[in-house]
Symmetry: C2
Subunit: 547 residues, 2 copies
Amino acid sequence: MLDWLRHYRRAALPGDIGAGIVVAMMLVPQGMAYALVAGLPPVAGLYASILPPLVYALFGSSMTQSVGPMAIVSLMTGAAIAPLAGGAPGLHGVLAAQLALVAGAVLLLCGLLRLGFLANFFSRPVMSGFTVGSSLVIAWGQVKPLLGGPLQQPHVPSTVLGLASLALLLLARSHLARLLKRLGMAGTAADVLSKLAPMVVVLAATAAVAAYGAHGIRLTGPVPAGLPQLNLATSPSHWRELLQPGLLIGFVVFLMSMSAAQTLALKRGEKLVSNRELVGLGAANVAAMASGAFPVTGSLSRSAVNFAAGANTPLASVISAVLLAAALMLPTGWLALLPLPTLAATIIVAVLGLLELDTLKTAWHYDRGDALAWLVTCVGVLALGVEAGVIVGVVLSMGTLIWRASRPHIAVLGRIPGTEHFRNVDRYAATRCEEVLILRIDANLFFGNVEAVNERIEDELRAHPATRHLVLTMLAVSSIDTTALFALSELNAGLRARGIGLHLAEVKGPVMDRLRASTLLDTLNGKLFLSTAMASEYLNSLDKEKR
Amino acid sequence: MLDWLRHYRRAALPGDIGAGIVVAMMLVPQGMAYALVAGLPPVAGLYASILPPLVYALFGSSMTQSVGPMAIVSLMTGAAIAPLAGGAPGLHGVLAAQLALVAGAVLLLCGLLRLGFLANFFSRPVMSGFTVGSSLVIAWGQVKPLLGGPLQQPHVPSTVLGLASLALLLLARSHLARLLKRLGMAGTAADVLSKLAPMVVVLAATAAVAAYGAHGIRLTGPVPAGLPQLNLATSPSHWRELLQPGLLIGFVVFLMSMSAAQTLALKRGEKLVSNRELVGLGAANVAAMASGAFPVTGSLSRSAVNFAAGANTPLASVISAVLLAAALMLPTGWLALLPLPTLAATIIVAVLGLLELDTLKTAWHYDRGDALAWLVTCVGVLALGVEAGVIVGVVLSMGTLIWRASRPHIAVLGRIPGTEHFRNVDRYAATRCEEVLILRIDANLFFGNVEAVNERIEDELRAHPATRHLVLTMLAVSSIDTTALFALSELNAGLRARGIGLHLAEVKGPVMDRLRASTLLDTLNGKLFLSTAMASEYLNSLDKEKR
């Protein structure tokens, strides 16, 4: 904890300060906009950007992660609380904070149970399909605020302002960095500055409203000045309903944050500790509850800017949190005049950055099954909603995992004539003795593949009906779980009944130690051999004797 | 389909007839008793024993499986419908049949999608813990009917009859087979005959009631004579509520049946086709719906008797179904006099057979983690109920699967001096060159382990800071999924930024074919080598040149 502070080098300071300022300026429009996505007053998004990143800086393990509000998690929050809060005023905020507490508690618990390996839950195609589907849902949800009314009945001044903001942001996105570079600015500085376009456009729109009036355009309305108050309010009757969305949100918070942090950690040659990430994100979400905000996570886009702007340590996040807190302590009257169509435009442009189709394209050429998983997850989110989309992703990932586990590689071995080498008969000109069937098992034996191993053994015995001895070559087997131990024992009993010997060859030391704690070796209907060659030689001579 | 009938040999007939008779006699008390466990009239259990096994004989792949009512599935059925049916008379039966339809549809769908590999879902300890927990719940549920009232206020005549039945059944279970053998009966015949004890005890109790009156003991009541009528009744408002229990029951039906059938298939050297089992069980459950019964599955205990009694083909099940149908077409007045305390005793003794602690004992000595999974699942069923118990089992199994997947074996290689062999430096006296780090990856690369592989690579690079070239030896890698492809590309980019070369050695043919469809090889920040030795030689000479 706070290792980075103990070993802080002064050389890291300028980068951290610069990144802190840039991220703070990104967070003002982003925080307010994502609060609206979650169905909350804009100030909640600013609160989510102060205490949570400070707490994450204490407990997390990533150096450049920017923890705070994030589009997809805000969408999930909104989807979870809207049906519960109904029209009750104030209940939205209470439930959103309570949801952050549930998600945070889930994450902390997983961290204490050291379940960080769950970061491997989603395959990249599933994650990407989920992100793209959710982004489309978010963008579609912003069409109405952008136009100041439904698609069929747009409010003209809102539409003009919204589309103008959108055009400016899109232009800045595609051309600003190039323009700044042409004007002589250094590459990275230009890239980073271009990320401040949303802040500039929002300020310009606010200034325009201040100067020329709102003309019926909806504004954010009064934003209370001052730091967030300690929030302990919960709705006791909603704990049960919040459990499932809290679990799913905690899960998505972890997966999203890990994939963002991982990308950057790799670039910096830095080690991410998944169990510490669980604790860091859990504590950050508890902090979100305490400051009356909503669920937070690490944001890939913001973290990338943080990194590019020169962040070396979590001090950058501390600085941006302090700046936001300072902004809230100054008069906040100007924030009230922020027009919602412009905020909607910033959201649409922000999620455009999440609409990457590279993963789908690569998967399509590389592995159609993975491409299908992408499509199913994306369509799942669009057709069934973001929460069901997560469940579709979980089911697909688990299905893939079991399917992969259930296909171990097994080879029939034969001897390369004139040598002591035994190789796969399908690939080499290797010769077999009819009575002795030698199978090399190229996978650890466990419950996920015992069935497949059994089936394959039966198939091979059927294909080689003269078999009197079955030899399993276990060089590649590093572990045998309890299920596989039982399966081996049952195989042994079955083969004994059919008059076929079961022999084991090249069993690894640690596996042998384990097997000695069981009764398999005592009841084995055959012998143990140090090498496949020794097994083959002994069994061949045995058969010759018999004749 | 019906392969067994086309190739039927006459020699198989006596065994099939004998087994058919024995199983029919087991099914009369069992079917009625398990219907009571499901909260249904006893005749539903007889219906569940006629059409479903006939349909399974058409579609299933096991030769000796006895499909019909089964204790744990009946318990799950009862748990699912009790809260939905409330006190509404007749609704129980409709919902139970509808539940069989949902479970059957799920199974058929899984069969059509060829999801048979899901049979690998539960580890043996999880399955065993679930079975034991459920058995205890069932036995506890029979205490009240056994005593004719609650534990504190037993009804004396019921208690006398119930305990007497229990004592007789327990005695038969432990001594009858031995006694029959001592009287000169052949071993298998004695074992099989002793399984008819429940039928005998039930007949004796019924005769006693007929002769001496009920004395307030509850009886089964009138059992309608005649074959089951076609049932198409459903409760349209309950589809949604039945979906989750239907899914869980379908899942348990498949797992229970597969594990029972697998044990026998192994003994007979017979191949079980999991996708056909899905279809067979699905069709059997649809048949259960159509005959107004409740969810059915393959029963381990009954199938074992079927096998021991000489069943060679599904004809045995056909015969027992025909016998039960015949019994229903004869007068059924005697069935009405069957005392419930005796039925409760047969249930308790039947589930005693499921209370095996061998798996726990073996796991305890062999693998504490597996023993823990057993205990958690068993306690889960006892504390949270049978449905939550299945979910606990799923979560545990999936957690184990991800955890196992996330721990690939990776070895740092060095050269055995004076040879071309490269081995794990931790186990052999192998020497390394400082600038070249060679890692052998002993697992297929996929989303479940890319994170772990990344972490390990970072650890090794940190441990070997002089590294200029990283060589990944891929001999044991048979597949790389899309997620791992991205991870390799990102590793490549990250290493390039840090001035470290990434080289691949001994890439298998099929893996190479796949990689050629991607951009990884074009952008590789290093070379491809046919062997580790060639990589080592080339890179060492490169470094010497530089100096």
